[in-house]
């Protein structure tokens, strides 16, 4: 093997693939049958880059040649960059050798679109098929669904991949028209729909015939770039909610736009990556999926954007102070999950802890339940609690003055008066 040539290709094609934020290697259930590797339940992050993101998969493009010219993308046709392409066997060898050394959980293969969507998709499938059939590889494989690929190919892809994903990238239809005029939203949704239908079909058939071949056991995911167009948080999250509901997405990822182009339609190079906003969007995503919130409660016409200085749950609670305080010794799970500052882990700790005794502040502290935010919203088995009726603004000020956000610099200048 010509290691220097491979190294060069790896440089170019890993660099081009890094803007895809999906890194998860969890949610699949593939056992090792007389071969190499498995992927079960929780994923493993094998390393972390200096930007703090995890490395769990070998994330590369098959090629960065592309026939499209989407303004937000580094591999766009008009961009003057080095181009390269891996051979199918080269990707297979790299994956296997990295996997055997415990560097990775598997492969995340995406590609620029060369010749046609079907031609590209077919090549991606060939890599996955080879890994599964020739190398008896049972590790994780994440394949990109190429927008516009045919249903037959999408079906085949799911037979070898654990997860399939197609990135809709731009949350609004108008934004897409502006930045990627050759692309149509329908092209993104078509493979998504096919994959959803196949997963549903697989699930119902599996109940009757046990030997049904697995189809994309870790489901499908997608990604949206935020901050490239003028979209509101509400637009992003309503699109996400639609995708979760309609296409049974396992995950929607939000990727703060990293300026890579001098195109006047986009934020200029050097503009700060909106990491804070990304963070708040993920918090909202979690509230929707695990905390029983509905999107209308968090974002609506009156509040189209999330507050940047406080988290979305606290923000919701301050708008709905009439629902509080709640008694942590009596309230049910759903209500506990709505208390600002209580995560699901704390909720479960409280639920199991209160079976043994009534919980007071001391118990909560000992359990490691964070009280700095929650204390304004709960009562417990103690004579001491916040008796004063604070206004939402007062509570917010008190909480903010106690904590130090690492994003302090990017927050409004007003805060500096107190800092």
């Amino acid at each position: 093997m010509d290691y220097d040539r491979i190294k060069e290709k790896l440089n170019i094609l890993a660099d081009a693939a890094k803007y895809d934020v999906s890194c998860s290697s969890s949610g699949s259930n593939r056992k090792n049958k007389n071969g190499l590797g498995n992927s079960s339940g929780t994923g493993i992050c094998h390393s972390y880059t200096p930007d703090g993101r995890c490395i769990s998969l070998l994330k590369i493009l098959l090629t960065n040649h592309c026939i499209y010219d989407c303004a937000y993308c580094v591999t766009r046709k008009s961009n003057d960059i080095k181009r390269a392409a891996f051979k199918v066997q080269e990707v297979v060898d790299l994956t296997i050798n990295f996997y055997r050394r415990n560097f990775i959980e598997g492969l995340f293969l995406s590609s620029g679109i060369f010749k046609s969507p079907d031609h590209t998709m077919e090549r991606l499938i060939r890599v996955a098929k080879k890994l599964r059939e020739e190398e008896s590889f049972n590790g994780y494989i994440h394949l990109k669904s190429i927008p516009g690929a045919s249903d037959e190919l999408m079906y085949e892809a799911g037979l070898y991949a654990d997860r399939l994903s197609v990135n809709i990238e731009i949350p609004t239809r108008e934004g897409l028209k502006l930045l990627a005029p050759d692309k149509d939203r329908k092209d993104f949704l078509k493979p998504m729909k096919k994959v959803r239908n196949e997963i549903d079909k697989y699930k119902s058939e599996k109940k009757i015939i046990k030997s049904t071949p697995t189809y994309a056991p870790a489901g499908q995911s997608t990604q949206m770039i935020v901050g490239a167009t003028q979209e509101t948080d509400a637009e992003v999250m309503y699109t996400a909610t639609y995708l979760y509901k309609k296409y049974n997405m396992k995950r929607v990822y939000y990727s703060g736009y990293i300026p890579i182009s001098y195109d006047s339609r986009l934020p200029a190079i050097g503009t700060e990556v909106p990491m804070m906003r990304e963070n708040r969007l993920y918090q909202t995503d979690w509230l929707l999926r695990f905390y029983g919130f509905s999107i209308e409660e968090l974002l609506n016409k009156e509040h189209p954007n999330l507050e940047s200085d406080i988290d979305p749950k606290l923000s919701w609670a301050l708008r709905n102070l009439h629902l509080f305080p709640i008694d942590i010794n009596k309230a049910d799970k759903q209500l506990l999950a709505r208390v600002p500052g209580l995560g699901m882990k704390s909720v479960y700790k409280i639920l199991s802890g209160r079976r043994y005794r009534k919980l007071g502040w001391e118990h909560l502290k000992k359990m490691g339940v964070a009280l700095n935010r929650s204390k304004y919203f709960i009562t417990c088995s103690s004579r001491y609690f916040e008796t004063k009726d604070y206004t939402p603004q007062q509570i917010k000020q008190r909480i903010l003055s106690e904590g130090h956000s690492k994003y302090q610099k990017t927050l409004s200048n007003q805060l500096n008066l107190f800092g």
Binding site: N32, G52, M367
Partner: protein, 256 residues
């Protein structure tokens, strides 16, 4: 006067000590591993001789009264090797035997909470090892990795690696505690070696020629996949603490 029980540092040793404390009905005890023991004038000490039968009886009681989660908690916390953990484990077993039901989730009890916290650390360390083990292929076709975890988590790694790398020879060696696991395609055995001092360097004498190439490729990938505009060194070091760097080829590959 305090009674100190000194055991040999093995799990069975600890269980034997607990058995003897029950047998002799002694109050006000302290259990201490031999390598941590410092003699003091104001105590009486008993040296415990590890006895499998006695240990088994205590363990059977744990399994009888508790759920599997209690047994796991006790064993895993024992692996922490924290000085003084024996006291918490003894108290835990005492409460378990007197209550005759699982107490693993009764976080209101100080000992239970403490052990749950230690268990969390053990879990974290075990998971880190699942992630940070870096195999290098030797000339005998063995995928070899050296580690030195904060806690003695090597026994917890066996299952995961055996399942995943069922078709390759591998060895994970704990340099600090000087023992390792070796998988010979059938089963996992405990092994002891005298490792050469320069084991962390990938020298041609021990490892295959191509090995260094794959490490370079990996380091190369590690650097290419980083987004400079999002640099966050603090978060990086939080996830990959510096003490592990010497075992990670992407952080520690020199001269190329």
């Amino acid at each position: 006067m305090q009674n100190t029980f000194i055991y040999d540092g093995s799990f069975n040793g600890l269980l034997t000590a607990i058995f003897e404390i029950y047998e002799l009905k002694i109050k006000n005890v302290r259990i201490v591993a031999k390598h941590y023991y410092e003699a003091s004038f104001f105590e009486e000490y008993h040296e415990v001789i590890t006895n499998e039968e006695k240990a088994n009886r205590v363990w059977k009681a744990v399994i009888k009264y508790g759920k599997p989660i209690d047994a796991h908690l006790i064993y895993r916390c024992f692996l922490s090797e924290i000085n003084g953990i024996e006291q918490n484990l003894f108290n835990y077993i005492k409460i378990l035997i007197s209550k005759k039901q699982s107490i693993a989730k009764d976080y209101g009890q100080a000992d239970v909470f403490h052990l749950a916290e230690v268990n969390k650390k053990i879990g974290r360390e075990k998971h880190r090892m699942d992630a940070f083990v870096r195999f290098r292929k030797t000339k005998d076709n063995i995928y070899f990795a050296s580690i030195s975890p904060d806690f003695n988590v090597l026994p917890l790694l066996e299952k995961h690696f055996q399942k995943r790398y069922a078709d390759q020879l591998w060895c994970i060696y704990d340099i600090c505690r000087n023992y390792g696991l070796y998988y010979d395609l059938n089963s996992v055995k405990i092994v002891h070696f005298d490792l050469p001092e320069n084991i962390l360097n990938t020298s041609d004498e021990i490892f295959q020629k191509e090995e260094i190439q794959y490490q370079k490729l990996w380091k190369n990938y590690f650097e290419s996949t980083n987004i400079k505009a999002r640099a966050n060194q603090k978060l990086h070091e939080q996830h990959v603490p510096r003490r592990y760097w010497k075992y990670l080829s992407e952080k520690n590959l020199l001269n190329w």
